[in-house]
């Protein structure tokens, strides 16, 4: 009898250790994703007609960060300084190569997190940040600006009009879904069906615009809808400010998201206000997505595939899955951007196209070698 209790105790200790290792593996994956971002960014920053080494690039970046914070207090003053003093290497990095990379990190994190959240709250493995109509609404907003120069603000700069419109319509479509889910029950089914309806509405509106538009502008709209990481520092700052407050709130809700995976009834019985949590997480992820999609265009695939890849590696616990999906999404996106720059250099292929080319083989590989039934 004493022997038996001792052996049970041993079993339990072994299990406890195994669980700790299991958690440790997840944390390692997150750390590895961060490293991957820095390495890929470092490689990407060395690529281009002007030759700069990896080490050089990082020392220029760190020196620049130091100067911006302590000397200039302003990135534009810093870049002007580089320009006036003919510091070409520094100028190339800070003005040309770094902005798309930083935008890529922000967009990747946003799309990765929003994707994991959407799959969680909708309990649907096919969900992505765009499932509920955001991308088609943003494209419509952009098309309005490009084709008939119509915007909710007045400005001469077309790029600015596109950004404002895309953001506005992305938020408008999410608000519509939010409103519908408030009137009916906020079940995944209601939200997905409403999302499909909204998607078709905005697609039809965009098609209508394109039908009457000259070929040039149609092409511009189409190219915008591929998604690209062009951005300047002010745009980066704005999207950073939009993204920043959403992430901690979403991280606070990861437990509820975990519990909701067991079904609404069980989640309620475990004390979760299911409908409110679903609406809150949906709205914040939409905000995240809108905050980057308006600058980059709808970069597809990252938001669908990054959560899946991470889930296959570290499991479905959202405490780790949500941050991992964001960080891995960022790494994947800037890796794709790097490839986009070199594949038929000097032409830069839109990153949205490359993400699919790179993500699909990785995704298929993981699907084929997985040992367990997935969904």
């Amino acid at each position: 009898m004493g022997n038996e209790t001792a052996s049970i105790r041993k079993e339990m200790e072994r299990l406890s250790d195994e669980y700790k290792r299991f958690v440790g593996r997840k944390i390692s994956f997150i750390v590895a994703s961060v490293l991957l971002i820095f390495i890929t960014a470092g490689v990407s920053v060395t690529l281009g007609p002007y030759d700069i080494s990896f080490i050089d690039a990082y020392s220029i970046i760190f020196q620049g960060m130091h100067d911006i914070i302590f000397r200039f207090h302003n990135i534009y003053a810093f870049i002007q300084f580089l320009d006036e003093n003919y510091m070409v290497k520094e100028w190339v990095i800070w003005q040309q190569r770094l902005p798309p990379i930083v935008m890529g990190v922000i967009a990747g994190i946003s799309l990765g997190i929003a994707g994991a959240e959407m799959q969680g709250i909708l309990r649907n493995p096919l969900a992505s940040p765009y499932t509920l109509g955001i991308s088609s609404a943003a494209v419509f907003g952009a098309a309005l600006a490009i084709i008939i120069n119509l915007s909710i603000v007045r400005a001469a700069d077309e790029r600015f009009l596109i950004v404002v419109n895309a953001f506005f319509f992305a938020i408008l479509s999410s608000s519509l879904i939010y409103g519908i889910s408030k009137m009916k029950n906020a079940t995944p089914e209601t939200m997905i069906l409403a999302g499909i309806a909204i998607t078709y509405l905005f697609m039809a509106l965009t098609q209508l615009l394109k039908y009457f538009a000259p070929a040039e502008e149609v092409k511009e709209t189409v190219v915008w809808s591929f998604g690209a990481l062009s951005a300047n520092w002010s745009e980066i700052l704005i999207s950073f400010v939009i993204v920043l407050p959403c992430v901690p709130v979403l991280m606070l809700k990861v437990w509820d998201l975990n519990v909701m995976s067991a079904g609404d009834e069980v989640a309620k019985s475990l004390g979760v206000d299911v409908e409110r949590t679903r609406q809150l997480c949906f709205f914040l992820s939409s905000f995240l997505t809108a905050g980057t999609v308006c600058f980059t265009g709808p970069i597809s695939f990252i938001g669908l595939v990054s959560p899946h890849i991470c889930r296959m590696v570290i499991g479905a616990d959202n405490r780790f899955l949500v941050p991992a999906s964001g960080l891995f999404g960022a790494a994947l996106l800037i890796a794709a951007d790097t490839v986009a720059k070199i594949v038929i250099s000097p032409v830069i292929i839109p990153v949205g196209i490359i993400t699919a080319f790179m993500g699909v083989p990785l995704f298929l590989y993981l699907i084929l070698r997985r040992s367990r039934e997935y969904w």
Partner: protein
């Protein structure tokens, strides 16, 4: 002592009344079984008791306090729920599934104490070998044990179970019912469960509530409720009721010709 008091409870889906004037008490530390044919309102009643559904009329009180005065999380600390079956979309380990039961007690961080409670529950249900496996690859009986474990990790005073043995073979049915009656005694908790199998109900529960078309048809201990006449009236089935060890057992013979049942 009365643990739960259900008083004049009514519920309807749209204009379809599902529960009408349901009143009964659940005593502290007993296992109460709810039986009745499909559509009698068993699951609805359980969901009302757990406030997954909101009653239209009437009150449900736990320790003398109306459950609508509780916040959801307060209620979750007192009441655990084991669903009939759930469809898990994304794979998840058994350990993490049971850890969900700690949700009402933890802040954001899950501490040593929560891990310890999960380990205790795993030990109690003797499922150490399953702990790191994926819930989606377990058999129905094993899954049911995990769902019970999750509700136990919640440390509730009242356990609500919706047909915990449906879809299980006889051996697993007995195993699951044994676990439930053992923990009810060991932890001094109260259990209310919907049961489909009359013999299983008779064998394991202290008292039975027999429901018919949204109303309570009979209440009492198994030998009072499980009579040939009640079974004919409620289920529309001719059956022979025997007795073994002081508990009735039921042998169904054929559907009754002129049933008052509605189906």
């Amino acid at each position: 002592m009365v643990k739960l008091r259900i008083k004049d409870v009514e519920f309807s889906y749209g204009s379809n009344p599902v529960l009408e004037g349901v009143s009964f008490d659940v005593n502290d530390g007993e296992i109460l079984g709810i039986i009745g044919p499909n559509g009698a309102g068993k699951s609805t009643l359980l969901r009302c008791m757990n406030r997954i559904l909101k009653v239209r009329k009437g009150v449900i009180m736990i320790d003398g306090r109306n459950i609508s005065d509780f916040s959801r999380i307060e209620l979750a600390r007192i009441m655990g729920y084991v669903p009939q079956s759930t469809h898990q979309i994304f794979p998840n380990t058994v350990f993490d599934t049971i850890l969900m039961g700690r949700r009402p007690h933890l802040g954001w961080k899950c501490g040593e104490i929560d891990i310890k409670k999960v380990l205790e529950t795993i030990e109690m249900l003797n499922i150490v070998d399953l702990a790191m496996r994926d819930i989606t690859e377990l058999s129905g009986g094993q899954q049911q044990k995990v769902f019970i474990a999750r509700a136990l990790a919640q440390e509730p005073e009242v356990l609500i179970l919706d047909e915990p043995t449906s879809n299980l073979d006889i051996k697993h049915q007995l195993e699951v019912m044994n676990i439930i009656s053992k923990i009810v005694k060991e932890r001094g908790i109260t259990a209310v469960m919907a049961v489909h199998d009359l013999n299983l109900a008779s064998r394991y529960v202290d008292r039975i509530i027999m429901m018919h078309a949204g109303k309570i048809f009979a209440v009492g201990n198994p030998s009072d409720v499980l009579t040939e006449e009640n079974i004919r009236k409620v289920y529309g089935v001719e059956a022979i009721v025997g007795e073994h060890d002081g508990r009735p057992f039921i042998l169904p013979i054929r559907p009754a010709d002129t049933g008052t049942h509605d189906s």
